[in-house]
């Protein structure tokens, strides 16, 4: 179990984070560039001094313990292979014996590269070697700092799956830093959203994405449009929009397509929602009420090119936010309960 409650001074702000990662558990620190994610990892690894707090790994308290005695592995975007050592020597760098070299090299698919120099390796091979080096060094925890940025999508998926299986198999706590939500979702079973040095929300990836705790979290996890309604501001995620009016499934919006562009296998449309449009919010068969929709520009992904410029779309189960930016209610049952009491 990796437990940390750290506060680290940075030039412009202090980074505060509290996390607890169990054996085999995978946590992702997600946030924009400069949020303090890497600082948290470096504090866990002992590379930066912490102002307040403590870090423990299993039964070991790591306060004041230098990096070389922590047994925490760190994998960065740059695999950090030693260029003067062969792949074999890199793998064995922190290992106490070479007994596990063969099996781990075979498992990682690098057993044919042991005699090669790092300069000859491709990006994916170099990351596999770096991962193997951490495994052979018997690290008790694994930290990954955006390790696969710059690699193509297929290779990222393969390497992420490989790391996940190794973390689970060896029961080591793992923390990933990511600024791409997809990377964090593919890796983690728990997500911490970090911004401006503070953890804004923690939870399962799906709960954070579908029920962001604040408008700021919503914008970080991909909500590109916010529509003012009578009940607060509804967050519109481009991938949570379906064409047509399906009042039972969420918020129905009518608007004019102001821009349209191909996106992946479908289309991405910028929809101008007028101030006088009226939406209809339902929970199941229950009609909860009419909603006045404010003027807004929302982006939505559609499977097919819309037939005209005026279209109707349904935002599936959108989160709502109050004037202070905090989520107004956590789910629809909560909302309907509140409306019932109001009456």
């Amino acid at each position: 179990m990796l437990d940390a409650d750290v506060e680290v001074d940075r030039r412009s702000f202090a980074v505060r984070a509290r996390l607890s990662v169990g054996p085999g558990e995978r946590v992702a620190l997600f946030g924009p560039s400069g949020a303090g994610k890497t600082t948290v990892l470096e504090a866990l690894a002992g590379l930066v001094p912490i102002r307040r707090g403590s870090v423990s790994l299993g039964s070991r308290c790591l306060d004041g313990v230098p990096p070389w005695r922590r047994r925490i592995g760190l994998l960065r975007q740059d695999p950090g292979l030693f260029p003067h050592l062969s792949v074999r020597d890199n793998l064995l760098y922190g290992a106490s014996s070479d007994a596990s070299l063969g099996p781990i090299a075979a498992e990682l698919g690098i057993d044919g590269l042991l005699g090669a120099m790092p300069a000859r390796l491709s990006g994916g091979q170099a990351h596999r070697v770096a991962l193997g080096r951490l495994l052979l060094a018997h690290c008790d925890a694994l930290l990954l700092d955006e390790p696969y940025s710059g690699l193509d999508a297929g290779l990222r998926r393969t390497l992420t799956a490989l790391v996940v299986s190794l973390v689970v198999e060896r029961s080591v706590p793992a923390v990933l830093v990511a600024h791409e939500l997809a990377d964090a979702q593919a890796f983690a079973d728990r997500l911490l959203v970090l911004d401006g040095g503070s953890v804004l929300q923690s939870g399962s990836p799906s709960s954070v994405v579908l029920r962001p705790a604040s408008r700021r979290v919503a914008s970080l996890v991909g909500y590109l449009g916010f529509v003012a309604t009578d009940s607060g501001v509804a967050g519109v995620h481009p991938e949570r929009v379906v064409p047509g009016a399906h009042a039972s499934r969420g918020l129905v919006l009518s608007g004019v397509v102001s821009a349209l562009r191909p996106a992946g296998a479908g289309w991405e449309a910028d929809l101008r929602v007028g101030d006088l449009r009226v939406g209809d919010l339902r929970v199941g068969d229950l009609r909860v009420g009419d909603l006045r929709v404010g003027d807004a520009l929302v982006t939505c992904r559609l499977p097919e090119r819309p037939p005209g410029t005026e279209i109707e779309v349904t935002v599936l189960d959108p989160p709502y936010f109050g004037p202070d930016g905090a989520a107004v209610f956590s789910d629809f049952s909560d909302f309907s309960e509140r409306r019932r009491l109001d009456r």
Partner: protein
């Protein structure tokens, strides 16, 4: 052929034929230019060999005590290298890592000794370590003196060659990615072992080249030496005195000896650095 006429298989379009020719011409011009520069740099050596009379060569070197300056130069040069490695390497490392307070002050200090003419360094050394200074008194307490002794020769050579080694070492260490050192530490190595296993091997080619340059400077040190260490004479001073006493032809054999003795280490360092680079590239 008409401009839009189809091109038959194996036939090359006129526009493309000119390009390789132009490239080839520019390549030859480059090689020619490089050859001229190389020949100009090597000119003195070629002249030395061309003007050397082998009879004079043997008679000069077979005279009693003729090779003593060579032994003195090699010995003082080796001691100088030891001093530079022991003191200059940590200084270069600390400067490269920005671990010293007011780093620009340290760099300026090293640059000052590089910019001062060797003759001026010699003059200043007399005022610094001469017999009537407090350092001189301290040395005297150990029955040593820093003028006209082997110690004086080493001091002069150290002052003349140290900036080349320290600045070269700084550049060599600065070229080692600090994240590699961090990675080695995270893999369980304490700082000293990181230095031995990662930092030093990665900086070694640069350090070797710096040491080679420093060796060449030490072997050829004259300006400071002639002021502070006239005795025991090394080869540069021997060349100077022979030139003054018996003329140019008698001095040439010692110039060749200096070249032959000073050249192998830099050459070895260059070849070794190149091989280390090739090995890293796989």
């Amino acid at each position: 052929m008409a401009p839009n006429a189809p091109i038959a298989p194996g036939q090359r379009q006129a526009g493309y034929e000119g390009l390789p020719r132009a490239r080839s011409a520019s390549a030859w011009v480059s090689v020619g230019g490089a050859l001229v520069v190389w020949a100009a740099l090597l000119g003195p050596v070629i002249t030395l060999i061309a003007h050397l009379s082998w009879g004079t060569f043997w008679s000069s070197l077979s005279a009693p005590g003729a090779l003593d300056p060579l032994v003195t130069s090699v010995e003082s040069g080796l001691v100088t290298l030891l001093v530079l490695v022991a003191c200059g390497t940590p200084l270069g490392y600390l400067m490269a890592r920005g671990a010293l307070p007011f780093p620009r002050v340290w760099e300026t200090g090293v640059l000052c000794s590089l910019l001062l003419p060797p003759l001026v360094i010699g003059l200043l050394l007399v005022f610094m370590v001469g017999p009537y200074t407090w350092i001189g008194s301290l040395l005297n307490w150990f029955h040593q003196t820093a003028t006209n002794t082997f110690l004086a020769l080493v001091i002069a050579e150290v002052y003349e060659s140290a900036p080349y080694y320290v600045l070269g070492a700084q550049a060599a260490f600065a070229g080692v990615e600090p994240r590699l050192e961090q990675q080695a530490a995270l893999l369980g190595d304490p700082p000293r072992r990181v230095f031995r296993r990662v930092t030093l091997p990665l900086a070694a080619p640069g350090l070797a080249m710096s040491l080679a340059v420093a060796w060449a400077r030490a072997m050829g040190a004259f300006g400071a030496v002639v002021i502070i260490a006239y005795h025991p004479a090394g080869i540069p001073l021997q060349i100077f005195t022979t030139l003054q006493e018996t003329g140019l032809p008698s001095a040439l054999p010692f110039a060749l000896v200096l070249l032959v003795v000073a050249l192998p280490l830099p050459l070895f360092a260059y070849i070794w650095s190149a091989r280390a680079g090739r090995r890293r590239r796989g």
